[in-house]
């Protein structure tokens, strides 16, 4: 009996062992099969994935802390095709709230491109539109009927650049496109700083494997030297002046000549930076985006101050050096005449600048000689970039002896600002040497950087000393006296100003000058004894008057009057009285 049980037991054990071995064999076979490999890959796919965490783009402030460029939430609206119950309702909701074509969306949902399970409908839907869609989806979810339903409609928030001041300072700021890249101005120049560094990490879907995601530091925020209120005022004056004087375009820059801080820079045209897609309709080419730095032109008589600076600095002339103006002078076989074609008789150097005599300045340049003249022009930075921290700067052109297209007559024409080209900012940079005791500043827009709660102020930089302190003081005085003698429209009541007008003929593409149109300019700074602002005005092709003294000079005065109010610069009498206490 016991033997019989033993056999039965052994048989049962054997069967179970065989079954166990078969089960193990089957498990091994399944694990080693091709299908298992596919399943493993599928599992890996759903286990998690690499995600890129983009930092929030740094903000841009003006010097008083007003936000010029910030960020705003927009949504990517998409349709998860697997979860869609009611394509008609989804297409209708998208059409009504996001302005998309119902037919297009409906067709795309029903016949998506092969391999697509998620359909992006709108990349930059506004918060308001999405809030309405979310509300609608929630209401329909809570309803008892399965349809209508917005199941499958998904919203993913992201940040996009936003400019609360719309078009204000648009030429300085530049813009950020939808891919997050900065174009023009500060946005392009400091794109790497503003954008920060994205971090790519593997994120598991299994919450049991929660990994610590590294903190992504935001992009660096920037504080600009721009004064928002002054910028706004200058833009208003520019727009008014274009209308008043019938000019095609214009540029006005306000800079602190002692440290190169650009306080305002207005140019036309401007655009609402929140609608940068209009760029192509507003600008013909990139150099037009900011004429103050991107569009060199023949500035005319404003450059006479540099010719005179060179002559004073070499000791060739003094303010009282006499000059007999006969109304014309020969150079390189070409006769140079004054702007009014008249002879002004005996003049000194103050009179030469006061009456803006081409003949006198040509004589000064001849006395200097090409080597001295172009040596000084080079030291003043003509033909070179100023290094301003905005994208899109152009260098202008200064032909020098030895260049294939330089002729001896160029020495004469260059002395009064024809035959060379420079941007308004280049001329300001050069003139800063005269206003700033011989020391030339590097213009800049960056005042400070904000990162991790710390503010790093940017120190001013200087670009050499082309002239001595004495020369700068002498020329400063000459220019102030010339304006006063002339009773210039540029004068600012209560403040002593130095400055110079410029009226330049415009070269045509055929190599001749257009005698009917001019570029009117004015550069000036003040107060003379302690310059705190330097202003450049350029009006292109004014029709009310061709002369800088009748167009750009009064605009300068208007800007200067606004500047002294907004920068709290008291009149000379008050300031000097205060200093004397």
């Amino acid at each position: 009996m016991r033997q019989q049980y033993a056999w039965r037991s052994m048989l049962l054990n054997g069967i179970m062992a065989v079954v166990a071995v078969l089960v193990i064999l089957q498990m091994v076979r399944i694990q080693a099969s091709a299908e298992a490999e596919a399943f493993r890959e599928q599992a890996d796919t759903f286990r998690g994935g690499y995600r890129t965490f983009y930092p929030e783009r740094g903000e841009i402030y003006d010097r008083n802390g007003h936000l010029l460029a910030g960020n705003q939430t927009v949504y990517e609206v998409g349709v998860d095709l697997i979860n869609v119950i009611d394509p008609h309702s989804v297409a209708m909701a998208i059409s009504v709230n996001l302005g998309k074509s119902y037919d297009q969306v409906f067709t795309d949902i029903l016949n998506p491109p092969p391999g697509i399970s998620y359909l992006v409908v709108d990349n930059f839907a506004s918060s308001e539109a999405v809030a309405h869609l979310k509300e609608l989806k929630k209401e329909l979810n809570e309803a008892e009927e399965p349809t209508p339903s917005l199941a499958g409609l998904e919203f993913n928030p992201r940040l996009k650049r936003s400019y609360p001041e719309t078009a204000l300072a648009s030429n300085i700021l530049g813009f950020v496109n939808r891919e997050g890249r900065g174009y023009f101005g500060v946005e392009e120049k400091y794109n790497d700083l503003l954008a920060g560094n994205p971090v790519r990490v593997w994120v598991p879907n299994d919450p049991n494997q929660a990994v610590e995601i590294p903190r992504v530091p935001n992009g660096t925020s920037l504080i600009l030297t721009i004064n928002r209120d002054l910028q706004d005022a200058v833009e208003d004056i520019l727009d008014y002046s274009l209308n008043e004087y019938g000019a095609q375009h214009g540029t006005i820059i306000v800079m602190d000549p002692q440290n190169g801080e650009i306080l305002a820079m207005a140019a036309t045209p401007r655009m609402d930076l929140n609608h940068f897609e209009n760029y192509g309709a507003i600008f013909n080419n990139a150099s037009e985006y900011n004429r103050a730095i991107g569009m060199p032109y023949e500035p005319g008589s404003v450059t006479k101050i540099f010719t005179m600076a060179a002559a004073l600095d070499t000791g060739l002339v003094t303010p009282n050096t006499p000059f007999l103006d006969t109304g014309e002078i020969q150079i390189g076989g070409v006769t140079i005449r004054n702007w009014d074609q008249k002879a002004w008789g005996v003049q000194n150097m103050v009179g030469c600048l006061q009456h803006s005599l081409n003949v006198c300045l040509t004589w000064v340049a001849i006395q200097l000689g090409p080597q001295n003249f172009y040596g000084y022009m080079n030291r003043f930075g003509f033909g070179r970039l100023t290094g301003v921290d905005m994208s899109g700067e152009a260098a202008g052109r200064l032909k020098v002896p030895g260049d294939a297209d330089w002729y001896p007559v160029d020495l004469g024409t260059n002395s009064f600002g024809q035959g060379l080209s420079a941007t308004p900012l280049q001329i300001m940079t050069a003139a800063s040497a005269i206003a700033n005791q011989g020391r030339m500043v590097t213009p800049h827009t960056l005042y400070a950087m904000l990162r991790d709660g710390h503010q790093f102020n940017v120190p001013p930089q200087y670009a050499g000393s082309p002239i001595t302190t004495e020369t700068a003081a002498t020329l400063n005085e000459i220019l102030a006296v010339s304006l006063e003698n002339e009773a210039s429209a540029a004068l600012v009541p209560g403040y002593r100003i130095s400055g110079k007008t410029g009226t330049a003929q415009i070269p045509t593409p055929f190599g001749f000058y257009d005698f009917n149109q001019t570029n009117a300019s004015f550069i000036g700074w003040g107060p003379v004894d302690d310059p705190q602002f330097m202003i450049y005005v350029w009006l292109e092709r004014p029709t009310a008057s061709p002369w800088g003294s009748q167009t750009a000079a009064p605009v300068f005065s208007e800007v200067a009057q606004k500047t002294v109010i907004l920068l709290d610069i008291p009149p000379d009498s008050v300031r000097l009285n205060t200093a004397a206490r």
């Binding site: 010097r63 705003q72 936003s162 600012v492």
Partner: protein, 154 residues
């Protein structure tokens, strides 16, 4: 021989007693496994809950950052140059002219040059937020204790 058998008999345990001991050992092992399994389940479920909370908090951080950015931009829009001027005009203000400005001498006053916008320093981005107690092995901890001067084992 008899003596030996007697001794064996005297010291050997009853079969039911041996059986009970084996059963007890088996039950102890089962109980141990059950405890380990329970602990494992508790820890993993806790970790899963915390992981889900972390995911939710991460989302909340992103949402808050977005809301902050939106509010800041909205505030800037409401205080923009255009809006401020519009409201000022509505209230009857007008731009001041140079001759209307009256300057007052204030001894010792130094006008601010520009904004100081630096906020309180944020947390160090690279600072680990997980306490070392949760990441160090026993050997790491021992090594750190021995290598840190003035900090013996406690």
């Amino acid at each position: 021989m008899n003596t030996t058998n007697r001794l064996n008999h005297a010291y050997s345990q009853a079969p039911w007693r041996v059986q009970r001991q084996w059963v007890s050992i088996f039950l102890l092992i089962v109980l141990g496994f059950a405890m380990i399994a329970t602990l494992y389940l508790m820890v993993t479920s806790e970790a899963a809950i915390v992981g889900r909370e972390i995911q939710d908090l991460r989302l909340a951080i992103i949402t808050t950052e977005h809301t902050n950015a939106d509010l800041q931009t909205e505030l800037a829009r409401l205080t923009s140059s255009y809006e401020t001027q519009r409201r000022a005009r509505e209230l009857g203000f007008r731009p001041m002219k140079a001759e209307e400005v009256e300057y007052l001498y204030v001894p010792g006053y130094i006008a601010p040059k520009a904004a100081a916008l630096a906020a309180a320093p944020e947390l160090q981005p690279s600072a680990p937020s997980t306490s070392p107690e949760y990441t160090q092995s026993l050997l790491d901890w021992l090594g750190e204790r021995l290598q840190t001067p003035g900090r013996g084992l406690r």
